[in-house]
Symmetry: C2
Subunit: 241 residues, 2 copies
């Protein structure tokens, strides 16, 4: 499985993904699930993926092919699409098409392949947008009321986000919140694993302003995780029944 | 949906269930999901239920019928079964049988009915036992390493239990932990709802030593929930990225 989360805050967007991929419990690998499509200053798009690796890799390969193609147009290339809404449509249609093709191959085995994505981005002159794209290609968008979107194993890490996330949360607090949300998920679910990919896209920068890979031995992440455990245990101790 | 949790601690067992039942989102009702079978001082059994109401109600009705029947025996009545293991077998077999019967009725509609249960109990001279019974009738048991079992919407409330629960946790802290675990679930998932049923079965008492229904306006639960929110927010604020 996977856990990916994206925040749409007043000051920018924060995105976090794990890297664990597994085919059964005895075949575990590390694959990046965070991908960038960028023309710095003009347009930035970040895609987070969850689900069948064959579906997500093929979808991303087709998106890249469409960008590189001599026929690349506003209708096919996410680097030329006139709006982020159109970007979400292109990615959604590509994902749905790939999923259908792979699903057909798998029906003989009575298995299915599925995947979902988070797409965050901004083009110069446009607004920041954050979308969750479903396996069928349709999508929803983060709003003022719901500043975060999650894919994959989302339940363990939702309570902390429900309690602290607002649109007005700072980018620093946003990074803390997604890392703590991931920390809870890592502890409760083996199928989500380090290393992590974290990035920040500041408002109107139209480029990735911060990118960080957090390896399993990362000292600052470990310290944060321990401080959070301590805070939870102290809070728990102080509460009266 | 549902959220039920049971703890097996050194000093006794703590059980908590919500009461929300829904058939679709537009048909929500309140049904008790915690049931007692008791001969105080001799034997206590507490059953928590999750899943299709038609399955769980029919299963409980059959368990009661078997107890009241003139043919009640060690093999059929959970109040006569010689061990808690046998109790789990009787409940598991009854649940699996009812589920199969109801499933058959529903196949015409291409729907299925399923349910799972937590069974906690002790008989005089025996050990406290805590089981999770699956829809197929097989079961697992809480152990030293894993002192809690959950059914229904278990993911939201698992991180707090993973962090604070040990076999040696006191009954008071156990009650706090299950209530905070439920609080996180209530906040993140609409299909779990108040009122709550909480009970404690102290070790070797062989009876329910504390029973409490927590209504939605309950002042002490609200205070605890707010104190926990405050502790989480304070902890979050103090942590450094």
């Amino acid at each position: 499985m996977t856990y990916c989360v994206g925040l749409l805050l007043s000051e920018g967007m924060v995105l976090l993904s794990d890297t664990r991929t597994n085919a059964g419990l005895d075949n575990i690998s590390t694959y990046r699930k965070m991908f960038f499509f960028e023309e710095p200053g003009e347009r930035v798009i970040c895609v987070l993926t969850a689900g069948s690796l064959s579906v997500t890799q093929t979808t991303l390969a087709r998106l890249r092919d469409a960008i590189a193609s001599p026929d690349a147009s506003e209708a096919t290339s996410i680097l030329r699409a006139p709006t982020m809404l159109k970007v979400a449509h292109i990615i959604g249609d590509t994902l749905a098409q790939v999923r259908r093709e792979i699903d057909e191959k798998l029906t003989a085995m009575e298995q299915g392949a599925t995947a979902s994505m988070i797409v965050a981005g901004q083009r110069r002159g446009g607004e920041m947008r954050l979308f969750l794209i479903y396996p069928e290609g349709n999508f929803i968008e983060a709003t003022e009321d719901t500043p975060f979107l999650q894919i994959g194993e989302h339940k363990y890490g939702k309570p902390i986000l429900d309690r602290v996330m607002k649109r007005s949360t700072s980018l620093t607090d946003g990074q803390k919140a997604v890392l703590l949300s991931m920390d809870s998920t890592l502890r409760s679910n083996l199928s989500v694993g380090m290393p992590l990919d974290l990035c920040v896209i500041e408002k109107d920068a139209c480029r990735v302003t911060m990118k960080r890979r957090i390896e399993s031995g990362d000292e600052s992440f470990r310290a944060m995780s321990e401080a959070w455990s301590r805070a939870l245990r102290d809070g728990f101790t102080q509460i009266k029944l």
